[in-house]
């Protein structure tokens, strides 16, 4: 049980680390797009404050490093970019499977962490609560995955409308 707990927590920690890094990269990309003159959000009304002289506006504007103006395509392909292309490939079945696996495994591990924490930290529920959670939820995923992929195939290839 302890080994399982450590495995789950370790996997969750790695997942959260990856999410945090991708979030930072996404925020940097959004900031770069906004700096490039394109608005990332809905259009906002123009401010009604008094016009600012050009010199004052130039002084108030943050200095942009020269490297920030480079587009991502201009730089060499880094290991992170290769990893991202593997984890997030072009739209298709491979991407669907990766997306599904990431969601299913992440959700399963998250629920197991919550259940273990609840069982050992708050209320030890009678019966084989933890064992049933591990096996029952895995059974649910195993039963629903073929249905999900089968329906996805029917919708995508056969034009089914649910």
């Amino acid at each position: 049980m302890v080994v399982g707990y450590v495995l789950i927590m370790g996997t969750l920690a790695i997942g959260l680390r990856i999410v945090q890094r991708s979030g930072k990269a996404g925020a940097a990309g959004a900031a770069a797009i906004t700096d490039g003159g394109r608005s990332a959000g809905p259009p906002k009304p123009a401010p009604v404050a008094a016009p600012v002289p050009a010199t004052a506006a130039a002084a108030a504007a943050p200095a942009v490093p020269a490297a920030a103006s480079l587009t991502p395509d201009a730089g060499p392909v880094t290991a992170r970019a290769r990893l991202r292309s593997m984890v997030r490939p072009q739209p298709g079945w491979r991407r669907l499977v990766i997306h599904y696996l990431g969601t299913a495994v992440g959700g399963y591990l998250l629920l197991m962490v919550v259940i273990i924490g609840y069982y050992f930290g708050i209320a030890p529920v009678a019966g084989n609560f933890v064992h049933s959670a591990f096996s029952g939820c895995a059974l649910l995923i195993g039963l629903s995955a073929p249905v999900f992929f089968g329906l996805s195939w029917l919708v995508e290839r056969k034009g089914w409308r649910i």
Binding site: G23, T103, G106, Y108, L110, L111, V114, G136, C137
Partner: protein, 82 residues
Amino acid sequence: MTQEVGVAKHPLIGYFVWAVLFGALFAWEGLALTYRFGDVPTLSATFRAIMRYPFGRWALFALWLWFGWHIFVRGWHFLLRA
């Protein structure tokens, strides 16, 4: 011999609280669908916002698993034997 599954007796107020909570949930969704309360997001819009992020998808999937585990797995017996 058939035997009904025993149901524990609980105070009526407990069921009433659950009914109020679920009623409030659907009432809020109904108000959001009428577009009379400005930018109140519907449940679908809220789920879409949550599912933009991996951790949100994990949480929703865990919620779905938890619900399905309780409804379809826990206490389930072959051929509905009690």
